[in-house]
């Protein structure tokens, strides 16, 4: 991150803008939830908004918008593994065609 007082002041503006954005988006999620959209739409919207908010926090508050390579590599690896966990699990646990689940014995 830039270190001169000038840049810092510039950053600070950014922080407040992000703060506003986060507030607005929070309002949006809650607002949308009152429309009682079909579940998959609701999930989609909620997730997109959450992703944007998370992105903002990570990028601006946590300075991921300009961080060192090594940090990026660590996070990429982590993301890959996390995804690599959930996908097979979901496929096995729910879409496994060979077991009929939730049948009381």
């Amino acid at each position: 991150m830039g270190d001169s007082a000038e840049e810092i002041r510039h950053h600070i503006k950014g922080y407040f803008l992000v703060y506003l954005a986060l507030m607005v988006l929070t309002g949006v999620t809650v607002g949308v939830s009152y429309f009682h959209l079909a579940i998959h739409w609701a999930v989609l919207v909620a997730f997109i908004v959450a992703a944007v908010k998370g992105g903002l926090v990570a990028a601006i508050f946590m300075h991921l918008n300009n961080e060192k390579k090594i940090i990026y590599w660590i996070l990429i690896l982590t993301a890959v593994l996390a995804v690599g966990f959930i996908i097979p699990v979901l496929m096995d646990v729910e879409i496994s065609a060979y077991t009929q689940r939730h049948i009381p014995q």
Partner: protein, 255 residues
């Protein structure tokens, strides 16, 4: 034929077991070859290159091709095993469920520490079960609704004694009352975990009569060790006769 159990695979009396045995055996020959091959080289090095007066290590940069080829060979062999041997066997075990018409269909409900075998009776329909109705004392360990459900009237429940006819596919719907068990019949090359809350179909067909062990293969508590069942493979007549016996024993009227 020779004695059923030894220090290697026991006899196989299932129709689908042959390829499994072939896979296990060929794979072990392959492993042995690798091990012996490498082992010979290994021992050779240990002797040839031992430290001794006048012998100096040769540190010049070298590159050997052969090992790379061997590694590639191993990779290819594994791929072949996976694609052309393991996959077909597994998919037939998983997918080729026999149709109800030409197969015997039973439910097996595992519990601590026994195997409940549930035959649908002559109507071929399993009676409804309900945990509330479970009453081991009057031969109803799986909560069969004998009063409520007409289909249940002729159902037969046998504990740890699994009789079925030879040369006829058997389809088992496997489930568990309490914890995870594993339905293992070594001579039948069958093993399937029984997961509570799910029903998992298993099929097999015996090509030889006799009686053998069912072993529980998943730790299920203090009685895991004695959770032993017995399969009795018999001719169709003998099987029918046995069913009749059971029916009278349970005091059921003819279906």
């Amino acid at each position: 034929m020779d004695k059923p159990y030894g220090w290697w695979l026991p006899i196989n009396i299932s129709t689908h077991g042959k390829p499994i045995d072939d896979l296990i055996n060929s794979l072990h020959w392959f492993m042995l070859a690798l091990f012996v091959g490498w082992g010979i080289y290994f021992v050779y090095c240990l002797i040839k290159f031992r430290a001794r007066p006048g012998h100096k290590a040769d540190s010049t940069e070298k590159h050997f091709r052969l090992p790379t080829y061997i590694e590639i060979g191993i990779a290819i062999f594994e791929t072949i095993l996976l694609v052309f041997v393991s996959y077909p066997i597994w998919s037939s075990v998983k997918n080729d469920m026999p149709s109800d018409s030409d197969s015997l269909r039973v439910r097996v409900v595992a519990e601590q520490f026994a195997w409940n075998i549930h035959y649908p009776g002559d109507d071929g329909i399993f009676g409804r079960t309900d945990p509330e109705l479970i009453a081991p004392e009057d031969n109803n360990p799986i909560g069969l609704d004998r009063e409520g459900d007409p289909n249940a009237k002729d159902d037969i429940i046998s504990i740890n004694n699994f009789h079925f006819p030879v040369n006829k596919p058997v389809r088992v719907d496997l489930s568990s009352k309490d914890v995870i068990h594993s339905f293992g019949i070594p001579v039948m090359r069958v093993k399937q975990d029984a997961i509570p809350g799910t029903v998992i179909p298993v099929w097999f067909e015996a090509n030889q009569t006799g009686s053998f062990d069912i072993m529980c293969a998943q730790l299920c508590g203090v009685g895991h060790t004695r959770m032993r069942g017995e399969i009795t493979v018999q001719s169709d007549e003998e099987f029918k006769a046995w069913l009749a016996e059971e029916r009278t024993y349970l005091g059921l009227e003819e279906g």
